[in-house]
């Protein structure tokens, strides 16, 4: 039987849910996971071929415009403004990080002892919806948040005197950021190939293990080196955060999106590969859900056998996708360098590794855009579960926000107009961030090559690559998927 008094209460407090969802949306939060067949049915009715063509033409137009605008405009575009001094915030940062540590410990506890349903347990909801969807998206708007939110540095600074501390071991510099890059690949493999990445107790064990692994690494090798070289998400969030207009450092600075990424100084090959890996892995995540991929595997997408049956091909595909993507990108850069160096004096020639290292950063916006678009619908659904779970975080029958009887709805995926709006929003995100990539690549080329002709020559293969990737990204949105 239903309880009208409780339902009325829920209704009165539903503003809170709406406000939270609005917050996520307006701050750039996005995601998907429970796409229903009907939503894809509407997408198949949309004139997506036309939209894809329009998206690609928009990127082509941006390439042409960027090619002919004065170079000093481009340089000026990425010059930030300082808004105010933030001052020394290490204490505040440490305090927030400590709260984050406590929250992570509590979530691990909830994972082990809370509800077994991943849509009512706050651990998987927080990890996959709040952290992997909303906080990543938020980093594209406000950079540097992970320095505050990470669950290690506050406790580390509380336990150790980090300024004068002599560590037991030292990480070889030659390792560069390769450990973080490898860990990211393993993380992605878990995300897309594990049979139950959102099983609460399983996830709790993994989160606890990774927390401990990182903290021990920091204790043994020192926080700075470990976080910079081995902690995958420090590297990841630093990269994504560098795209944000607003940067929170000792000073608050604001500028054209991507300005901080272009001003980060030299980039190691490992970080360049990390950037490529973010896009390649995200793209493969999308590709592995398509009918096209299922057909390649000989799997009937309408009778999807479940993740357990596809672990090996998914992992193999992920590794192959990363390898092929890095190879293709390297080929584009190599060709561009050959074209730009053609007929130059030896002293003016730019070597491949330098160009590869710097131009990889221009892929970041595409990677971010794809992440946001890919998870957009999942976020709209699973964020509802988050808010309902917050109403009763320990599953003891509490009803803090009056939402325990709220019915999660996917109604917005069941009308043609809303599906069209969502699709166009996803496509708009992808196309606009491709255009940002084009502009950033051109800016980087400006610093690498001296003459306009050489700059343009260097950009031809990369521009073709970006047009192709726009097509690919939009095709992934339009093509039918099995899960």
């Amino acid at each position: 039987m239903f309880h009208p008094n409780i339902k009325n209460k829920s209704f009165k407090k539903s503003w809170l849910y709406l406000a939270l969802v609005a917050l996520f949306i307006t701050t750039g939060g996005i995601i998907t996971a429970h796409a229903h067949a009907s939503e894809q049915g509407f997408v198949l009715l949309l004139p997506t071929n036309f939209y894809i063509l329009a998206g690609c033409l928009a990127v082509v137009a941006s390439i042409l415009i960027v090619a002919f605008i004065p170079l000093h405009w481009l340089v000026g575009l990425f010059r930030p403004l300082t808004i105010s001094n933030f001052g020394h915030l290490s204490r505040t940062q440490n305090f927030i990080s400590l709260i984050s540590t406590i929250l992570v410990f509590w979530l691990i506890y909830v994972g082990f002892s809370g509800p077994h349903n991943p849509l009512t347990n706050l651990l998987p909801l927080t990890i996959w919806t709040v952290w992997w969807m909303a906080i990543v998206a938020l980093h594209g708007v406000v950079g540097g948040l992970w320095l505050w939110l990470n669950p290690w540095s506050g406790l580390y600074n509380f336990v150790f005197d980090s300024a004068s501390r002599q560590t037991l071991f030292k990480l070889p510099k030659a390792l560069s950021q390769w450990p973080a890059t490898l860990i990211f690949l393993i993380f992605f493999g878990f995300l897309i190939a594990d049979p139950a990445p959102d099983d609460p107790s399983r996830l709790a064990a993994i989160v606890a293990s990774y927390w401990l692994f990182t903290f021990c690494g920091m204790a043994l090798f020192g926080a700075k080196d470990w976080l910079n070289q081995c902690e995958s998400f420090h590297v990841f969030f630093k990269l994504i955060g560098s795209l944000a207009s607003i940067q929170l450092g000792k000073k608050i600075k604001i500028g054209w999106p991507g300005w901080a990424a272009l001003n980060n100084g030299s980039t190691s090959i490992a970080v360049s590969v990390f950037v490529l890996m973010i896009l390649a892995s995200g793209s493969f995540d999308g590709l592995s859900e398509t009918f096209w991929w299922m057909a390649k595997l000989g799997v009937n997408p309408l009778e999807y056998p479940g993740r357990s049956a596809l672990i090996t091909p998914t992992i193999a595909g992920l590794i192959a996708a990363n390898f092929i993507f890095c190879l293709l990108f390297a080929l584009c850069i190599w060709l561009g360098v050959q074209l730009a160096n053609y007929g130059c004096k030896t002293s003016d020639k730019v070597n491949f590794s330098k160009a590869f290292g710097q131009l990889a950063i221009s892929i970041l916006p595409i990677a971010f855009g794809y992440h946001v678009a890919h998870y957009f619908i999942s976020f709209l659904v699973s964020s509802q579960y988050v808010v309902v779970a917050l109403s009763d975080p320990l599953a003891v029958g509490a009803n803090y926000f009056g939402l325990s009887h709220y019915h999660v709805s996917t109604g917005f995926l069941k009308t043609f107009q809303t599906v069209k709006t969502i699709w166009l929003a996803q496509a708009g995100i992808i196309v606009s961030l491709h255009i940002l990539s084009v502009i950033m690549a051109h800016h980087i080329a400006t610093s690498l090559f001296k003459t306009r002709l050489r700059i343009l020559s260097s950009q031809i293969p990369l521009a073709i690559f970006m047009i192709f990737y726009t097509f690919f990204g939009l095709w992934l949105l339009a093509t039918p998927r099995s899960v």
């Binding site: 039987m1 239903f2 309880h3 996971a33 429970h34 229903h36 067949a37 009907s38 894809q40 049915g41 509407f42 997408v43 198949l44 009715l45 002892s113 809370g114 509800p115 077994h116 349903n117 991943p118 849509l119 009512t120 049979p195 139950a196 959102d198 099983d199 009918f291 299922m294 009937n300 997408p301 309408l302 009778e303 999807y304 056998p305 479940g306 993740r307 357990s308 049956a309 009763d392 320990l394 599953a395 003891v396 029958g397 009803n399 325990s404 709220y406 019915h407 999660v408 709805s409 996917t410 109604g411 917005f412 069941k414 009308t415 043609f416 809303t418 039918p480 998927r481 099995s482 899960v483």
Partner: protein, 431 residues
Amino acid sequence: MKNFDLTKSTLTRRKVLKTLGAGVAAASILPRLGGIAHAATSEPIRIGFQAHRTGIGAAYGRWYSRATSAAVTRINDMGGINGREVEIITEDDGTDPKRGAEVIEKFAKQHEVDVAFGTLYSHVVYGSAPRAGELKLPYFVVSEGHHVASGKLNRYTLQPGITDVKSQVQAMAPFVADNLGKKVTMIFPDFAFGHDHRDFFTAAIEAQGGEVVESIAIPPTETSFTKYFPRIPRETEVIYHVMVGPAVLTFVKELGEFFGPNRPELFGFIDSLEAVDFASPGLEFLEGSYFWEGMARYAQADQTDIDKTYRAAVGVDNNGASISDSRDVATFSHMFGCWETLNIIKRGMETCGYQGPADRQSLIEAVEAMSDMPYSLDHPQGAKRFNGKTHQTFGHQYISQVIDGKLVVKHKTSIEDGLYEDEVDYTKQSF
């Protein structure tokens, strides 16, 4: 800590009971809890809900959860089972057969549930049932598949709350032959689901003096269908279609463009458009066509109090959509199976005086002994007749016509229309 999200209201009452400090006194104040208060043990009856919360079945899983929650709330409000509160323990199987078997194992060994219940997708049932049999855990599926009655499973697996596809398809044939035509072209997806329809309906329509003049199997990954339509013979009087997946709307749109206003009769299974609004673009072509429905999505002109009460309990309005979002159409032709199955589990446990896992075999025997179940709030879809030998229930089916964009029931089949020869006798299998 257990998953109490489905039973919060009863937990609140338990706290009330504790506060009052005397079960008898509380029972006089809250009469519907009298049974719970007098139970020999305060331990709840634990039902493991094997839910498709993620994966390909997530859309169904959401509504199965809602129906389950509503049914358990009602059962507990009526005093629980044998005076004990019912607690649902939800485990996500990811709509994955291997995980399904693992979930069954967790239910039996970790959660120590009394029974497992709620699986929809056939491949998950196939993956889970053997483990349930090995662990001697009663496993009540809500799947529609013919797998239970075909004899491929085991004594511990039952499907008492929803009819199977063979029965559903067979029951359609008399109406189709008598009212729509005897020359049928079938269009179906080229895998087991479509093949079942092809095989069962071909036999059933021939028994009615009709024939399938063409069977068009569509590859599962197909997204454009126009090239298949010229294969539809001119003599076709009825097109029987059971397309599923994201391309269904495209299929209907292209079928409409192919035929224009002069189409043969159309008969489909609502599985194609379950949870899809009939007002969706392209579906105008379906106006006047017929569908099988497990339970009428739209409240009918002669709506009963039982239908009203059931809809209110599961939170579905008169158009088959969520009361909190009129765009959110329910999987109305399937979700009743959870509600009815839970009521059957309750009745079975009460019949055998179920106390705990030691009585699991008695529970299965009690359910096997069931037969006719009258139309009631326990069975809002309609009366049922359970076959204890095949562990499969039989019931009424609904044939509805799309009129002004809504499904109007035109025919209700008899239970006898869906009966077929037993293919197994599970009661002869030892426990």
